[in-house]
């Protein structure tokens, strides 16, 4: 039987990691992720988790240890944030191109400079093209559930890719919520018993040369297969959500979730991560006023669920994307560009970029109301320009800073 606990997002992450019975863990502390490492170390020291942990000297080594371990056929887990992720970039990229199903939580934190500790998905979104699968989740229950699902997806023979479960630093990592914790037997029934690779391994009984110098032709074949595996993951992610729901009774829409969208909806706000809670409130309020606006939460950014998103937006006139990150060079947020790419074949949709909540700034319900009203206005306008300038949603007016 499952039981209910009040726990922080970080505790939800470490609890899920322990339930997944990893063989090897390696992680290096960084705010706001640190307590994940502490709690797993404690679980091992107290004999509650039968696993080996490497007390590494850096994130670069954390990822490298896990790659070695995964090549030795171990199930592996790590967690990091911002500068730690940046520091591990070299082995990070390689985890996916070696097709190692490493699972790593990311407590999202803004990238410096200026010096900062607080939330923004700038860290993990900046590495969205490193070949990993990336989930972005909304609350602590979803952290726990998604980490379990991630092991299932990562080790699926149709996928064999590493996975990030990203959750906003402090907003989730340090906030306590009610979390339903499944018991070990339930999780054991859900996950594969162990990680047993037949595609890449280091074993003196079955000698293999891993990663010899490879010509471009063969490399292209590997890349093509990697991209195909990412596409297959869209289905596998949906399946994992379904199976999980059947076993645990909680349903997280696989890659995208539509909230209060029906055939009357004319505008949609698109969100990522913990901001979705405030957005739901705003949509509830505006719908009670009769405004035709709904919400779409993107749960998986890599692979990008373009087909599902297109279907959800098929009857919609205007979308607004709220990004807690920036896309340098485009003067928008990153998810805005992703959405734009997905709907590039739908000239009838007007789109509006918003940037909000950088460096951990609160994205309030009122901000979402402002954004949503703007989207509704665009939806009702005839012949409006498709290319809207970014609107910065800020709590303190710029005047104050002058």
């Amino acid at each position: 039987m499952s039981h209910v606990e009040v726990m922080t997002g970080n505790q939800a992450a470490s609890t899920a990691a322990c339930l997944a019975r990893p063989d090897v863990i390696a992680a290096y502390p960084i705010t706001p992720q640190s307590s994940v490492v502490e709690d797993i170390s404690k679980a091992i020291a107290e004999g509650k988790l039968d696993a080996l942990i490497s007390e590494v000297e850096s994130e670069h080594s954390a990822m490298s240890v896990l790659e070695g371990a995964a090549l030795g056929e171990a199930r592996t887990f790590s967690a990091t944030s911002s500068q730690g992720l940046a520091f591990m970039y070299e082995p990070y990229f390689r985890a996916s191109t070696l097709r190692l199903p490493i699972v790593m939580a990311i407590a999202n934190r803004e990238m410096i400079s200026p010096q900062t500790l607080w939330a923004s998905a700038q860290d993990s979104l900046s590495v969205r093209d490193a070949g990993w699968i990336q989930y972005y989740v909304e609350n602590n229950q979803e952290i726990l559930d998604t980490i379990l699902q991630a092991f299932c997806v990562a080790e699926d023979k149709r996928v064999l890719l590493p996975i990030n479960i990203c959750y906003d630093g402090f907003y989730l990592s340090h906030m306590s919520e009610r979390v339903d914790v499944p018991d070990q037997a339930q999780v054991d029934a859900f996950l594969p018993q162990c990680y047993k690779p037949d595609h890449i391994y280091l074993d003196p009984d079955r000698p293999m040369a891993v990663d010899p110098l490879t010509n471009g032709d063969l490399l292209m074949e590997y890349r093509q297969k990697h991209l195909e595996a990412q596409q297959r993951a869209l289905t596998v992610i949906e399946e994992a959500s379904e199976v999980f729901c059947n076993l645990f009774g909680r349903h997280w829409d696989g890659c995208v979730e539509a909230y209060k969208i029906d055939h009357n909806t004319k505008g949609a706000i698109i969100t990522l991560g913990s901001m979705t809670g405030a957005a739901r409130e705003a949509i509830d309020r505006l719908q009670s006023e009769g405004l035709p606006i709904g919400l779409i939460k993107i749960r998986v950014v890599r692979p990008f669920p373009k087909t599902e998103l297109r279907e959800l937006l098929s009857g919609i006139r205007a979308v607004g994307v709220v990004d807690r990150n920036v896309c340098f060079g485009w003067n928008t947020g990153i998810i805005y560009q992703e959405v734009l790419a997905a709907i590039s074949g739908s000239p009838s949709i007007v789109h509006q970029p918003f940037i909000a909540g950088l460096g951990g700034e609160d994205i309030t319900i009122e901000m979402f109301e402002t954004a949503a009203r703007q989207v509704v206005t665009l939806a009702q306008k005839k012949n409006g320009s498709r290319d809207q300038e970014t609107i910065w949603l800020r709590s303190v007016s710029e005047e104050v800073h002058k």
């Binding site: 080996l52 000297e57 670069h60 070695g68 171990a74 010899p212 110098l213």
Partner: protein
């Protein structure tokens, strides 16, 4: 079993690798792997040995044992992870081996190496020191000696060589030694000790004369290596559980000029620099002798 029997064992490194004629690194690698045997996994980071095709699979190049490229920067930590995986499976007999250049060990991979040594992970880490980044065209490394020409030190390097074996010994790992391809018996015995070391990290530092970079005829590789020892430029010693022991004593050393004059890379080295080099060598030998007197736990 004699050293000759070991050297007679079949090679696990394929014949067709494309190292320079007279490469002392290739000889060292083949020898080391004869000692360690087939129940091993070999990590070769980017560098000459990776570049000449040891990480391969087609039997003309490559190795007959599992072999892989770690990154230049993470050889030791990848092996730490591999060791943990084998530990989980109770496969303690597998040798987890790094054969890494000075660049991959002394410079770019130093943090990972130091971390793994501090954790005392059970890895056999062999650094082949050819005193520069050969694979990328012979640029300076932290192991390049003062005065040596490299493609980034056209008038000779200004700084002294990083004393890596001593740094590793100061991690207090169970086994550290220095080795030379000119002293095969000594080398084989040291690799055997590392092979038997179940207590944790083993670090072996081999000074490998390099035909491609140092400027000497291929047939002189071993002679140059021997001179590096006979001049005390590169003393052969080991540090077992913190205790230093010189394994090849050199009571009557040759002057370092006998070594330096044989190598084109030192052709611009001045008299003053040579004197300084000799002083450093004398100083380091004295330190080593003093360290030999120190006994751990009053033993």
């Amino acid at each position: 079993m004699s050293v000759l029997d070991v050297l007679d064992r079949p090679d696990v490194i394929s014949p067709g690798i494309s190292a320079c004629v007279g490469c002392s690194v290739e000889l060292t690698l083949r020898t080391v792997m004869k000692v360690l045997g087939r129940n091993s996994v070999l990590a070769i980071p980017p560098g000459c040995m990776g570049g000449v095709g040891v990480v391969g699979w087609d039997k003309k190049s490559g190795a007959e044992i599992p072999v892989f490229f770690p990154l230049l920067t993470n050889t030791a930590s990848m092996l730490s992870g591999l060791r943990l995986a084998y530990k989980r499976q109770g496969r303690d007999g597998i040798h987890v081996v790094a054969f890494a250049g000075d660049g991959a060990s002394v410079d770019a991979g130093f943090q990972a190496l130091s971390g793994a040594a501090e954790r005392n992970d059970r890895i056999i880490y062999i650094c082949y020191d050819n005193e520069g980044y050969m694979n990328t065209g012979y640029q300076r490394s932290g192991a390049t000696p003062k005065g040596a020409w490299t493609s980034t030190t056209p008038y000779g390097k200004l700084q002294i060589k990083k004393d890596m074996p001593r740094i590793m010994a100061d991690h207090r790992i169970p086994y550290v030694s220095t080795c030379s391809p000119a002293y095969m018996k000594d080398l084989v015995e040291k690799v055997e000790k590392a092979k038997r070391n179940k207590a944790g990290f083993s670090y072996l530092h081999v000074l490998n004369p390099c035909v491609g970079g140092w400027g000497f005829p291929p047939e002189e590789s071993i002679e140059i290596a021997r001179l590096s020892v006979k001049t005390r430029y590169f003393p052969l010693y080991e540090v077992v559980n913190g205790e230093y022991h010189i394994t090849v004593d050199i009571p009557n050393p040759l002057p370092v000029s006998d070594y330096v004059s044989r190598l084109k890379k030192f052709s611009r080295t001045s008299e003053v620099a040579l004197t300084e080099m000799q002083e450093l060598i004398d100083q380091q030998w004295q330190e080593l002798k003093a360290l030999e007197q120190v006994r751990v736990n009053g033993a």
